[in-house]
Amino acid sequence: MVTPLGENVAADEGVVRRSRIPGMDAVRATSGFQRGMLLAGVVLFGFFAVLALFASWIAPYGFNQDRADGKTFVTQQGPSADHWFGTTVGGEDVLSRVIFGAQTALEVIIVAVLLSIIVGVPLGLVSGYFGGWLDRILVLITDALFAFPSLLLAIIISIAVSGGSNSKVGGIVSTAVAITVVYVPQYFRVVRNATVAKREEPYVEAARALGARPWAIMTRYIFGNVVQTVPVIATLNAGDAILTLAGLGFLGFGIEPSAAAEWGHDLNKAIADISDGIWWTGVYPGVAIVLVVVGVTLVGESLNDVLNPLLRTFKVDQVVLPKTDAETAS
């Protein structure tokens, strides 16, 4: 498959499996620059994960809060001591909205990625292993979905799923489902292609000859190998999913504003602000999105670099020839 940045995700060529945790081998095999990328990505993502988990304790105010101690906040105020990131047109604290936005993003993405994996991976395994018309139909459908702009697909699924539900849980779940539908084809495709490749391997043929049943072959032999690529795709996907979530929010879909803070939605409101020179309502949420996606992408790309043997860089030291006896003599 071709990742969002155009790289090819290869199967686990050349990486000797030593760990049962999918993806750990790739992590161990990174070196130098790649490891730096990986570390930077983990730190970035970790930072936001902490924000998300402890939002209620870290954020100075609620995401919808426009007053405290009986006093309403001044609307559209720039960054100040009380409001580090300023306030919005409705008087909400931007910093708090950014922090709670992290929480929303994480919730949606985790649900979406998990669902995508739960649906996409087994489907890919089964389809790749058994082949036949089922496989052909699924491939055609997923190719068609794959070719479709993900945002538009997410929009119509979001319409279909939510159809009016306004609660926070409903909003998060329906948005997550919309994102899931968009990304299931990716997992399906990669797992299916890897399965088709592994299916022809001699050891699978040997197992079949010994009478192993398809279920056993799939779980014991193929799954373990194929699943190594999933974490890489998941991290790259998570970045894309966050962008899609923000896009949905920007267009007014997904989470109901009163139910949770969402960065994309805030950016939409911020567009109207800039003609007055108000930059803080847009820049902070925007930077947050960029940092999270960069973090997740760095992790994914550094792992991918390792798995793709063509891109692996071995540090090359210039060889210096020692003097020969003849040369030292002269």
Binding site: D317, V319, T324
Partner: protein
């Protein structure tokens, strides 16, 4: 005795590996006269390919070259990069092992020839270039009707012939043929060998034929050099070497060749040497059945007509030096 086209003196080519410098070529000397074919044989990984690449100057990043290479009177290693580039193709040509991927898939065969000829002989007119290319191809058995085809429209054997034709069209004085038939089946191999013989008759370039196949050497070469662990352990006329091999490695190689008269299989015990940390002294000593006390201590000089690098041929050894070398049995696990 005519002047040698190529003469190599104490050549060293080390390239950079994960475990340290790899001493692929570690002190090699030989000379080639015009029209002569020198076969370079050895096991996989003994440095033959690197030698060929090193002569051409096509080494990976981080490699180092030492010693001297004299080509047509010029000191090649001292040349600036641009001059070296000029030498390639028209002075020294290279025929690769794997023909399937050696042609640009986006360019027609004709364009390959045009490009090469325009680079090296800019005075030729378009028609002259075309004639030269077609002649070259025809000599290799490729008809002019296929001149404008793309590489993927040819089989492996045909692509190798196109590669050879391309190399020859530039009329190089010296050709390195790096295992030109290894990737091809036996029938095609025979064709290519016939073509090589033909080339010798027509153009008489000097050829360095790198191969691990002794049969090809016997058929196509005048002289042969046996390479082991980065050094040439024996070299001389083919007939002589094959009839009366002096070095234990050469003897073992010839013994392990399978022919119709083979009764049992021989192999050389032990594993190929580690080129990062080669065995001290004579590099073959861990696998040699005649190893003596002196062998691990000093690198043997060259003896006799075959320039054999083996202490067995030193008449002036003391009895102590000559005593057989005690060795622990090479455990199977050690080989792994």
């Amino acid at each position: 005795m005519t002047e040698p086209v190529l003469s190599v003196g104490d050549l060293r080519v080390w390239y950079s590996g994960p475990g340290g410098p790899v001493r692929a070529v570690d002190g090699v000397s030989f000379a080639l006269r015009p029209g002569e074919v020198l076969g370079l044989v050895g096991e996989s990984g003994c440095g033959k390919s690197t030698l060929g690449r090193g002569l051409m100057g096509l080494l990976p990043r981080g490699s180092a070259v030492g010693g001297s290479i004299q080509f047509a009177g010029q000191d090649v290693l001292g040349l600036p990069r641009k001059q070296r580039e000029k030498l390639r193709g028209v002075g020294m040509g290279l025929i690769f092992q794997e023909p399937m991927t050696r042609l640009d898939p986006l360019m027609r065969v004709s364009e390959h020839f045009e490009e090469a000829l325009r680079t090296h002989e800019p005075d030729l007119s378009k028609d002259e270039r075309r004639t030269r290319a077609l002649d070259s191809l025809r000599a290799l058995g490729i008809p002019p009707t296929r001149y404008r085809n793309y590489p993927h429209e040819f089989s492996g054997g045909m692509r190798q012939r196109i590669m050879i034709a391309l190399a020859l069209a530039l009329r190089p004085k010296f050709i390195v043929a790096d295992e030109p038939t290894t990737a091809l089946d036996v029938l095609v191999e025979a064709q290519i060998l016939r073509i090589l013989a033909d080339i010798r008759e027509r153009f008489s370039p000097a050829i360095l034929l790198i191969t691990h196949n002794l049969g090809i050497v016997a058929e196509a070469c005048d002289e042969v050099a046996v390479m082991y662990a980065g050094r040439i352990v024996e070299q001389g006329p083919v007939r002589e070497i094959f009839a009366d091999p002096q070095h234990p490695y050469t003897q073992a190689l010839l013994r392990s060749t399978i022919s119709l008269s083979t009764q049992e299989l021989h192999s050389i015990p032990g594993a190929p040497p580690d080129l990062v940390a080669p065995p001290p002294g004579c590099r073959f000593h861990p696998r040699c059945e005649h190893a003596m006390q002196i062998c691990p201590t000093k690198q043997p000089p060259q003896f006799d007509a075959h320039r054999t690098e083996c202490w067995l041929h030193d008449p002036s050894l003391s009895d102590a030096d000559r005593a057989p070398l005690e060795r622990e049995e090479v455990a199977v696990a050690d080989e792994a």
